[in-house]
Structures are given as structure tokens and as C-alpha cells.
Symmetry: C2
Subunit: 960 residues, 2 copies
Amino acid sequence: MWVATLCFFLVASGVLSKPVDDEPTCGYDACPLSDPATLNVHVVPHSHDDVGWLKTFDQYYFQDVQNVISSVIVALKLNPERRFVQVETAFFKKWWDQQKDSVRQDVINLVNNGQFEIINGAWSMNDEAAVNYQYTIDQYTLGLRYLEDRLGKCSRPRVGWQIDPFGHSREQASISAQLGFDSLYFARLDYRDKINRLSKKSGDLLWRGSSSLGNAADIFTSVLYNHYSAPPGFCFDIVCDDDPIIDDPESPDYNYQNRVETFANFVREQASKYPTNNIIVVMGDDFRYQAALNSYINTDRLIAGFDLFPQTFQGKTIKVFYSTPSCYAKAVNDYAITNDYNLEIKTDDFFPYADGVGNLVVGYFTSRPASKRFVRDGNILLQTAKQLAAAVNVPYDNVEINSLKEAMGVLQHHDAITGTELIDVTHDYHRLLHKGISDTSDAVDPILSNLITGSGDNDLQFKSCLLANVSYCPETKSDQFTLVVYNPLSRVVSSPISVPVDTETWSIVDPEGQEVIYQVEPTVIDFSEIIPEAVSPFFLEFVATDLPPFGYKVYTFAKTESAKIKSVTVGNEDTSFEVDETTGLLTSVTMNGVTLDISQDFLYYTSGGGSQAYVFTPASNDPQTIASTVTTSVVEGDIYSAVVQEFSDWAHQTIKVYKHDSSHIEFDYIIGPLDINDGGKEVISRFTTSLNTEGAFYTDSNGRETLKRVRNYRPDYEYTDEQPVSGNYYPITSKLAIKDEDSGLEVAVLNDRSQGGSSIEDGQLELMVHRAISTSDAFGLDEQEYDHGIVIRGKHYLVVGPSSGNGEKSLAAIERDVVQRKFLQPWVFVTNQDVSDQLVNLQFSNLKTSLPDNVQLLTLEPWKDNTILLRLEHVLEKDDDPNLSVDVTVDLSDLFVAFTISELAETTLAGNIPIDEYEPLHWPGSTNDTPKVRRDVGADLQVTLSPMQIRTFLATVTYN
Amino acid sequence: MWVATLCFFLVASGVLSKPVDDEPTCGYDACPLSDPATLNVHVVPHSHDDVGWLKTFDQYYFQDVQNVISSVIVALKLNPERRFVQVETAFFKKWWDQQKDSVRQDVINLVNNGQFEIINGAWSMNDEAAVNYQYTIDQYTLGLRYLEDRLGKCSRPRVGWQIDPFGHSREQASISAQLGFDSLYFARLDYRDKINRLSKKSGDLLWRGSSSLGNAADIFTSVLYNHYSAPPGFCFDIVCDDDPIIDDPESPDYNYQNRVETFANFVREQASKYPTNNIIVVMGDDFRYQAALNSYINTDRLIAGFDLFPQTFQGKTIKVFYSTPSCYAKAVNDYAITNDYNLEIKTDDFFPYADGVGNLVVGYFTSRPASKRFVRDGNILLQTAKQLAAAVNVPYDNVEINSLKEAMGVLQHHDAITGTELIDVTHDYHRLLHKGISDTSDAVDPILSNLITGSGDNDLQFKSCLLANVSYCPETKSDQFTLVVYNPLSRVVSSPISVPVDTETWSIVDPEGQEVIYQVEPTVIDFSEIIPEAVSPFFLEFVATDLPPFGYKVYTFAKTESAKIKSVTVGNEDTSFEVDETTGLLTSVTMNGVTLDISQDFLYYTSGGGSQAYVFTPASNDPQTIASTVTTSVVEGDIYSAVVQEFSDWAHQTIKVYKHDSSHIEFDYIIGPLDINDGGKEVISRFTTSLNTEGAFYTDSNGRETLKRVRNYRPDYEYTDEQPVSGNYYPITSKLAIKDEDSGLEVAVLNDRSQGGSSIEDGQLELMVHRAISTSDAFGLDEQEYDHGIVIRGKHYLVVGPSSGNGEKSLAAIERDVVQRKFLQPWVFVTNQDVSDQLVNLQFSNLKTSLPDNVQLLTLEPWKDNTILLRLEHVLEKDDDPNLSVDVTVDLSDLFVAFTISELAETTLAGNIPIDEYEPLHWPGSTNDTPKVRRDVGADLQVTLSPMQIRTFLATVTYN
């Protein structure tokens, strides 16, 4: 075997024995050479280390992962041919922090010579169904920054390594490409898709991650052949029972030649199903390589065995060597360029994922809905904190804000936000996220206090009321309190604010000193049945009007004895709905100039055997209604009009129209606890219209671009109708929509957390809102009472109208606006201190002007001394809106109040690679026949964005 | 913590960072210093690696042990404080052979600085019940030589590490002391003994290994506190579920202080039960440290934790540090000397071993009797081969002879000769031993051929007939064949030789050309029911008369048609026996001038639940007879007279008196297969007399010294009568005897393999001969049909007479003579080639004279160029015989035919330590109030031996 021989020679002669201060030879230069004349087998040692699942993050670290990294490092040092790919930076940080300098230097050396290659590099291996793209970008940014600071340029990943998530989003592909990755690997795709791909050799493909961005979002993608496991019988890990290689010819268990031949047979089988003379064979699995030497000793022998017992494939010698996914991608790229070979191009995504006949892994789109919402809360506070930190020059390494960044990174893990972890681990995730939020509140508190009082010498303390949704907030139980309402969007918004209160009459004063109108209603249910805390009996709502971008307004509350002030607002005449007096159900809505018959109901599927955290397999495909009649009551107030519905003692909903906002109708539901004695319930909210939708519906991809779905159809392979319902479920991070091409009408339901959804009948939309289950799926979690006893509260936002919109904007643009306003809704800080004499600055904005409607300042966070990370995004797709889906230019030269930008250095998406150091592999099929993305920015600091483009800059700033 | 701090400092300043060629600092100089003012906790990482048990030797190596050693070496390199003790040289050799030079150098460095300390160092951790002392000495010699050659002086073990064998022999203590060990450790002793010892702080003791050798066989012995396992909850090994130490104070699982305190509690409890301010805490278990880093990372933290959270014991600081058993012994020794503290002295042994109430681990004394005999065969051939190799100057590293040495080393393992391994492993042991025997036969064949023909140019090929006992030998199925009968004793002996033949009439010619008388009898049973080979219907027996010491005689056989020659020998009139015509059982014997009423019968215990490979727990304590009447037939011939008994279709016996030998009566039994449908059978041969034995009986210790046993009594602790039978079982390697003090009469049964035995009633002796079991004990083997279907053939030799003997010798001396002649009975090589014209030297001896009756030349084997390892032993105990139990001098100046000795360099028992480099620890209580052993040898090459003394020399020789 050529590589081994060469390397042994080099070692012996000392060439590869690199002292510490040698020039690094990482990247593609460090790759073993693939030989065009052989079948090249890239053997890739890896360990898949879940950032929590059956154990907590800490338990996995201390019980398992510290052993992996420590033992790998020493094993790599013993043989310069050995390689390992390290993935999860959350674990790597914990490990690195515990190492002494000599070990750290070992790691740096091994990174520099390519033996220890960082791939993916994000804080965790994020889920792809339930995450929003902002979460994903942030957790890559966090991980890659950590690596760059400690390990240098050679640690920059070139590989997306999403081997375990249960289905794959197109947005993940797009983000991967924009991060500067050259390749993306995964293992889980629909079993039919996999069979089909292997049969036509398209397991290696070119994935077009965006329909707006063109080949800027193309990425080479490889589907692993044998899950992410070592070939059957070749797990040399300490926890495996597979036979080691016994090379002692005297031993009765001698198996060397036989083992080599068995491996060669596997290799031949795999090679026959991939397009080039390279294949990638991973050696690893969950938490493997805890005794790395064990695995390497045997793999060394296996590799050497191909010299001793030469093997061929289709007349070519089989060459086996340690490699990495990046080296595999480079080898395939070399082949494609040399042979002008075009890989198959894929433009949709890999949802939904059935891992076997009828085994649809779509339950987790909705599983543990409380976690999914909690993460969204965490994101709002994190963006708020980063924006404020940038405004007042808080350094990057602020421990309190990093606490939330890291918690958010962990929560994106594909067994965290997914809800597919054991309940004890759920509690630990919630503890981590709660700690992050609490820490970050502590960091934001003095920023806000100083801004508001104009002085560092104050005693203000602001709290976040995380349980306000269940009517608990100790600060607002007071007779007087003060709210600071922060708007993390880069444009002016008005937003309803809801606070739990103990009494009905208040005096609210806005920053201009004006009394603010409000509405107080009793809570729909008695929340004291859900939480032990002293809940308040009422919710007070008011509208925080014209909240400044990246800024706040302060509202002071005082209890009064008098009746509330008379309404002065104009009612919302554009948007309304009707409810049937007999059934209590919605019958029609009026919005955007049209009235549409539409009903809404809660129903549930009884869980069939096989449903649990991951899988959704209903016992029957006809969901049952919860109630034949729904009890209703009507609420009319100054802030909103509403109908309160009681479907049962475990299902309530309030349908609301806010008078200040005609863009949507809100469905505020409270569901649970669910009785699981029948096997479990998977509850949906279903909207029914008579739209002729011809089987089509539309879903977002991680909250960003839209994908068209067709019921009972897959673009890439023949659909088989094993699960008529769950086989049509897709992840809905922000929007599920249907269209009637004839009438031009469109119905969209936006949500406040990610969920599973579908359109099972034409004209229908359903979103699964909650699930509690006593059966078990085959994915290893096996909880007795999955999510039993949990009550969740969530919101859907209904938008109806002509696709062409309301005359100003297309319906897509209207929907995007609502999505953004809900995704980054204002964060409310509250104090019940007597602060009246300290309130100096009742209003603040870090932006001198609102950005255009089609732009969001996606990220603003401190980066280094006098440097800020700044991301701008165009929020519309290329065909969303004739006026807004166009290039837009933002002038950054005089935008910020707190600082002035002197220079903009563009980077790849995570901020770690200066754009001029970014040298992606070029693929023959990746032609730019779609819109070019913009990369121009001049000294005038004008930044132009194409539709859906995100541009990342390191801005050199001077604080004012 | 003082040691850690110091060492870290030393590392930082480079002092401990030892380059390859530094002067080693191993041995006690490398020990961490115990502080007299603290409680010193010696933490000892170890892995107990069975040389076969549930897996074969090879399987354990490739699946487990290679990982242990490899991962330990790298872990030790990372932190100079870490230590590890390596035990089994069989595994170490396999590992070493696979390493590259740089790794080997690492090992040498770590041996030289004391981090990687070799303890025990024998080929395996031998059993102590079923082994003969010669096996034990040989396997230590093999292991320690291997280590010395590769690792140098620093690898010389100072520690006996017998942590797993199931009870402990006094001879093992004696051998350990004679090997130069300063300490001996074990874990398994009777549960009552352990409770008692801990209560009186005598778990550290001084064991007097010999009643003849005085303090030359004293050894410090320490009983491990918590088996050989890490403290409960502190198994940090990868296969354990104990919590790792979580030192991250942010983690909800943070447990650092708590874990330190829990460990300290364990330490305090242990320290309260040991006599000095030192305790040893082992961290390990079976096949642990396969991911060594894992364990060390946590143990590092644990140790450092005693600095962070200081702990005390009885006012003293608890000091915790990595250490080794040798360093523990040195610390206790320092304490004893400083405080003039006398440890308790023990003079008996640690048999039998009950690991809990009624759970007597005595079944293995007999388990798998075929293996136990096979090992004895292997030993005879091995001694033969080594003697011949020394005679003709074959080098030490002869691969074929080493094959048998290594196999014999493996077979001594405490799950090999014990019969406590899975049946597949048994088969692998038999394969190994068979290969060793076959290889060594191949080595001996040309030596013999050359000696016999006087030429290297011959085509003779001699075979060993290993299945002759079941009447199969392809060579003797011929019409003519030639036997070479080799005598491995250092004195002249005559021995009956038995060969299977197909016909009844033969002409046998001895080296002098004389016709030899013989006797042919049909086989007692049809052995074709046992083995598939073509067995012969007859056995021919003749007496090989006056076989020369360390030499052979050649006998030629030719088939004749005529009747056999007429007997010319005189019958044996001194020794005879009688059998009852009705019962068919033995009634009396006449020997040594007395006639004694004695009966013998086969009986069996039905196995109770709890019996299996290890444990013997009969369902009832009254064994059942096999048959009420025994069918008998009488045989009278020129060689022997016999009665053939059939007890049942699975139990036959031939009682024999040889006409040439009046020293004993032979009981040649064939037992099996055993029906196990009733739970299993444990078959005994029981001799019953009317001797008044007052509960006492006598057993040998590993075939060497004699220990007096008293029924239902233990010298060291209060006996409790939970198992009236098995509670009185002891290992019988060579002799079980009873005495009547009034009449002066003695009865001894000698055996041909080790067995369990006892005297359950006064005047009775029983030896367990076979056992097959369907129940299971609690020791982890758990075979469904333990040894089911196996037929075994064995021999007992009965000696009866006055203890004072026959006028020439004491009965003890007579018994020792028979034991020796049976233990090293002549080895028969056979060929059926037509060799008549090649037979030049029909007789050979390497000794010019027989050694005295009380001396055996225990070992003669090639060692280095012109150097031979030579061991002389005095074969009698100090009180055995008034004339023979005296100092005896052997003149080595002109003893050997093949070579002349020019110089003798005495060494410790294994030949690895020159006697002037031997510096044992001195213990206050180890006074020499018993006979002094001789250490004098002059230039005249006169070697004097005291009773039971073994002296080992490297003899410089010149071949003649």
C-alpha cells in the first residue's frame, strides 16, 4: 500500500516528524494522494459525540468524551499516518480548558499537520428541522471563532458533518456553502432515496442550497454508505464485540487475510455504487474512540493488510489509507475536474426521512414544544444582548453573554431542540438555557440601567419574566413597575405587550409622558394548575408603538383605583373573523380585501405503536375531534377583539385580532396535559378551506427560503404510500402555506416555534402542536411517558389574501414581515423598583434610521477591540415581491448612533475567513446560471444585497 | 498534596524528564516517600489479565490486553507521577513482539524510572492448588528471563502478585521468597479468616513459607482489602458506570468534594484495619485500563482533590499518591524497622478458601482432570527436552522447546490447570500444550537420533504416543517398532512401560541384547467408544530395568508367532492385596512388613446447586456408592498381578502389584462419562481403614512440603461447619496420608495428577477423581454441561506401612521416592521404522553417577553460551528420615558426561539475580531460629544442600 509505505519512509527519515514551529501543512496540502489508477479508500476515524441525549452534556463529557479526545491525541502522536476528525466544539472547549500547555501544543501540531482535522466545528451538530437559520449561523460563528482563537487557521473546517440529524434542510446546505465549506456529509435520508441513489451512483451529488443565491450556495454533498458506522464486523472500538485483527499466524484465531478480504468485499460493494474511483469509509460511531489506541492498532493492521494481501476492484488495485472527509471531497473534485464529470444536482431537500418502511421520523418536528419555544426566547434575548453590547462596547469574551451563546449552541443539538432526549436531559437543557438567559440578563441589566439613567451610579435592576406566558411575573405583581421594551429588529415596529397583573386598573405612561391605553382580561385558564408559583389572575395588554430599531422604550405602570381611560384608538376594520354560534368554531376571516370561508379545529391522532420522540406513526390516519361543540365567549376591548374557545378541559384557544395590526389573526392556544392511556395523543390544529390546491403546499426551510411540497410525491424517488399522513409531514419553522392558482388566493399559518405540518387534503393546513406518548419508537429513547403531563401555550398567526398582496406588498412580503416581527418580537425587561427619579433616557436606538423593509441587520455583536461583527441580510426571496425582491443597498457610513464605522472587511458567513482567503473548490456542474451574489463594498461603506443574500463583515469602529 | 506538588515541580524543571541513557532510578529508590506523620495511601493502578478464561489467551490478547499495555504506556508518558504494575509476561511478550523500537524504548524508560513496574513477572499468574512446584519454578524462570533480556535489571520483580488464585499455598510463599521477592499480595482468603484478620490488623503479615528452610522462606504478605478492585464507586475504567470526577463547579453534576470525601471515608475505614500508617488501594480489576487515559485522568483529579479538600485520619493528614506494591512493602518495612514492629507470623497456608458462607472453592482441585494430567505429561517431556538440550548444547532460544515452555507457562494459569475455563478455552489450552509437546518432540527427535545412531546423517524419527493411555499409538500397531525410554530423574530407576499392541506375542530385546519378559492383557474397556482412532485391543507391559539417570535405553520389538518366553523373574512376595469375593472390593493389603485391613470404593456426591468448576457443594454429605457388587476378574502374569473391577459401565479399575516393585500398589481407574441429569456427579475414590487418626491427615503443598490438616479446624480462625465435606477438602498435588500415632501405622495415597482430597472420617482417605456438573456456581463460568461426556483414566499409588519405614528408609522417604518416580516417570519415544542397522548407542546417560536418593537434579537446561542453568534440590523435609534428612553434598566437578563445569555462579531461584546482587528487605520478626540454608560453594564445585533446599546455579561449562 503506497501511502503507508511512503509515510513510514518519511517518518524514518524524519521529514514528517514536525517540530512545533514548522510551517503548517494543513488543508488539502496535507491530504494523502489519491491515485487515479487505483480505487482509493478513504478511511476516516471519527466519534459521534451527542451534546446530550441519554445523558446530559456534562455527563457525556466527563464519562465519555474527555476520554475520546485525550486518547485520540496520544494515538495520533504515535503514528503520523493516523487521522481523526473532531466535530463538536462544545465538547472540545470543555476538554481544552482542562489541558495543560504541552497537550494543547500537541493538538496544535496535529491540527497543523492535518492529523487532527476539525470538521463542522459548530458548537453542536445542529438539528436541521426545528432550528431557525439564525440559531444555526450563531452556533457556527461561536464554534469557529473558538477554534480560530486557540488553534489558528489550520483549524478552519472545510466540511459540513451532519451525520446524525434526521433529515436535511436545504438551508443547512446553503449555510454550509456560505460558511466556506467545500463539502457536506450526512447519513440519514429516506430509505427509498438511498436505495435509488446508490443504484444510480448519485450518493455523491452537488446540492444547490438556494434558489435565490445561485451557485454561491452550491455544495458537494456525500451520502455515507453505511450510516456513520464502521463496516459491519469492523468496529474495533472497545465497546464492540467485533473480532480484532489477529495477525499472529500461530494463533488458532488468526484471521488477517480473511479480515482483509472481508473488508475488501465491503469496499467493492460500496465502490460499485459511487461515481468516482474514491470511496469514504468511516470508522466510528456514537462515543467511539474512548480507547482510541485500540481502534488505531487494528485499523493500522487492516490498512497494512492491503499490502500483504493485495486486493483489486474492477482490475484496479484497492488502495486503503487514513484520510478525512475534506481529503475525500478534494479527491472527488480532482476526479471531476480531470474527467469533466458533472455530479447530479439536487435543488430540494431531504425531508421527510423514513428510516424504513413506514417509519417516518417526523414526530420530532413537534416533540417537546416547550423546549422549541424556550430556544426562541433565548434567541431574542441573545440578539438583544449582542446588539446592546455592541452599542456600549462590551468585549466579546463577556462571560455572561457567552453563557447564553453556549447554551444556545448546545440547544441546537439534534437531540436538544428536537425534543428527542430523555426527560432528565431535557431538564438539564432547560437549566443550561435558563442559566444562559439569567446570566445574560445580568449582563444586559447594567447596560440598560446605565443607558436609562445616563449614569453608571444607579441601583436599577431589570428582570426578564420568562413565565409571563403562564401569568407569573413577581415584578408585575407589584402596585407599580417599569417595563423596558427592546426591539431587536432593524426597523421600527409596533407590538402588543402582554403582562400578568393582579388588578384591572392601571396608569401606563409612555416615554413621551402620554397615558397608554390597555386592555385587561382574566386568564383563560387557571395557570396555578400548571405551575406552583403565585400566578396573576389577569393579563394586561397594550401596544408598544413605534419601537425604535435596535432600541427601547420605557413604560411606567402604576395601579389606579379609577376605571381605565377611554379608548382613543381606531378599531381594526380591515381584518376580522367569524365564529359559528352553534359549533363555536371559526367559519370565515376577512383580510387583505378578501373574505374566505375557513374553519379551524383541534384534533388528535392516537399514537400508533412506533410513535415516540422521533417517529410519528398514527394508529389511524383520521384524526379525532376533541369536542363536538366548543364553548365560546367574546372579548371586546381597546387593544384587541377576541373569541375565547374551550374545546375541552385540556384544550383552549383565544382567536384575536389586534386593532393596531391588520396583518394577521392570532390563535393563542393552551393544550395539555394529554391523556396517554390510549397510547398517546398527537394534537393538531387544522385549518380547512375550499381552496383548490392540487396537492401542493409550501413550507419554509429553517425560517428562510420556501420549498414547494406536493402531497404523496417526492422529486427524487418513487413515493410509496405507507404512511398517508406522516409520510407528508414536513418541518415548519416559520410558515406553512397553500395557494389556489385559479383564484390567486393564499392561506399561510405562521408559528411561534417549529412544528411538523402538512396539507393532507386539498385546501387544508395542519400543524402538530403537542404530543404525549406511551408507546415507543425504535430510536433508543424509550421513555415510558413521553412528555406526559405537559401543558403548552403557543400561537399561530393566520394570513389570508391574494398572493399578489394588499396593493403595497405581496402576501409573501406581508408574511415575512409578520414572521420577523414574531421571531424577533420585543424583549420586555421589568423592574418594580421605584425608579421615577432615575429615568433620564426613556427611549433609545442605536440606529439613526430604520433599515428598508427588505433588509434586516441580522447580527451585531462585539468581535475584537474596535471591531464589530455585522451581518446584513436581504429578507426576501427572488420572486417574493416585485418591488422588494430586488437588490438593495444599505449605507453603513452613518447608520449607528453609538459608533462610526471606518472600514468593512467582508468574511465568510461565520466571520472566521476573510473573503480574500476564501478559495472554494470549483465543481464542473456548479455554473452560475442563477443570480450572482454581490461581493462589492467600497470605501463609501455602501453594501448591496441581493435577494436572500447574507453578507458578513468585520467592521472597524470608533465609539462616539 | 506533597508528592504531586514536588513531582510537578520536578517535571517543570526538567529533572524527572529523563533522557533515554540516564542512569535508571528504579527499585525502592524510585518510590514516593511515605511520610511518617501522615496516613499514606498507596494508589496502585493495575489490570488483572487472565491468560485465558472466558476467552482464549489469543482472544484476550487481541481483544483486550494489547489495548491495556499500549494505552497505559502512553498515559504514563503524559504524567511522570502515574504508575502501573504489569504482571503477566505471556501477554507482555505478545505485546512487545508487535511494538516498534520507539515504543519499546518508551517502555524501558518507564521501567527505569519506576513508573511501569513489573511485578510477579511469571509467564502467567499460576494457580496454587493444582500446580507442582516444578511447574511454578519453571514458569517464573521463563518469565523473568524474558524480562531481563529485554528490559534489564530494573524489570526484576520484587513482588509476588497472586491476586486471583482461589486459596494460597505455603509453597508459593516459599518459592516467592526464594525468587528474591520481598512481598506477596493476594485477595482471596476464607471470608472468616479475612474478617478475623481485619479485626486484629493482621492483613499485613509475615508468612513463613517453609518449615525446613527457616527465614530464607519468610515473606511479607499483604491481604488486599477490597478484593483486587477499586474502591466501590471508584472504578474509573471505561467499562464501569461509576461516576467520573466532575470538577467543573458550574456543572449540576459537580461532585468533586463529595467524591474526595467518599474516597476518604473508604480510606479511613481501611486504615483502621491495617497495622501501619500505610495502606494500599488498588485501582483496577479484570482487563481494566484498556482505555488507560480515562482512568488516569480521573485518578489524577482524585489525588489532586486531597490537596483541595484536605482529609484527616485519627488526626493525621491523609496523603494520597500513585505507588506500587513494592513501594507499599518498603513503606511498611520502614515503619516496622523504625518502630521495631513485629508483624504476625503465619506458618500454615490459606486453604481451603470459602468466599462466603458454605461456598467452598475446592471443586477446582479436581476439575477437568484430563487437563491436570496433560500438564504433568508436558512437564516430563519438557524436563527431558531441557536435559537433552543441555547434553548436546542446543541454545536457550530453541523455538521448539520454548513452544512447550510457553505452553506450560500458560497452562499454570489459575484458570487453566484449574479447569475453571470455558470448554472452548480448554480446547485451546490443549491445542497449545499439544503443539508445545509436538514442537518439542520435533526438537528432541534429532537429538535422540543423533545420539542413538552416533551420526547426524540418519533418517530416524521418534514419536511420542500421547494417547497410549487409551490404547492408541499408530507406531506400535506395527509388526516391529523401537522404544527409547528416557529417565529424567538423576538416579537409576526401573519402571514398568505400557504400550498398546494389536497382537499378543512379541520378541523384545534390551540394549544388552537380552530378551525381555513382558505381559499382554486385553484392554479393560473398549477405548474405541472414547476416541475415534483405531485403538489396539491389548496392552503390553514390561519393565525397563535400571534406566540410567538423565539417560535412555533402547528396546526393539518384533512380532512373533510363538508363545511368549517363560518368566524368569521372581514374583513380588513382599507386597500383595486381597479382594472380597462377594463384594469384589479390596479388603486388605500387605506391604512393608504389615498387613492392614483396608477397603477401597468409588462413590459420588450429587452436585448441589452451587457446584461447578470452582465450587464443590454436594447436595448431600453422604456420598453414594456406585454399585452394591463389583464384578471382578483376576490377572496373573510375569510383570504384575491384578484384579480388574467393574463398578458400573462408567467405572472400572485395575488394582495392580508389580513383581519388580514392592513399594506401592497401583489403582488404575477409568471413570466416565458421568450422567449429570441429577445435577452432576463428583466422584471419589475412598480408602477406609480402622486407623485411629484423631481427625488429622496430611497433604502436600504443591508436591513439596507436607502440611498437617485437622478435620473441622483452622489454625487461624474459628471454623464453622457449613460444609462438613467440602469444608475439609484440600488440594492434593502428590500425596494424601493418615497416621495412627498409637500403632505407628501410616497410609498414603499418591496420585498421578492434582486432585481434591480429605479424610472425612477417621481412618478414611478420599480423593475426588472426576466431576461433571449441570448446576452453576457463582464464579462466572456458567457452563451448561460442565465436563459432561468426558472419560478419564488415572492412577493412585497406595503406600502402607509403619511410619518408621521398612528398615532402610522411613515411609516418608519411600513415598517421596514413589512420588518422584511417578512424577518424572520415563518418557517413551517410539518409531516403527526399520532401524536395526542404525542402532549404535542403545543406552545413554549424561550423568557419570546417580545422585544420592535425597537429591534430585531438578533443572538442567541451556542458558547462554557455555552456560547452563542447574538446580539441585534436597527432596526430603527436615524430619522425614533420620538418615536422609541431613545435609548432603553433591560433587559437580566430574558429574556430567557431556560437559565439564568450570565455574558455578549461584543465583536466586529463577536464575535472574546473581546471589550477590540479592538484597532482600529485612523484617524485625524474621529471625533465623530454624535451620540455616547453605549458600557456600567453593572452587571444588561441591554443593551442599539442606533438607528441602533448592539451589540454583549458572554453570560455566566446556563441552567434551
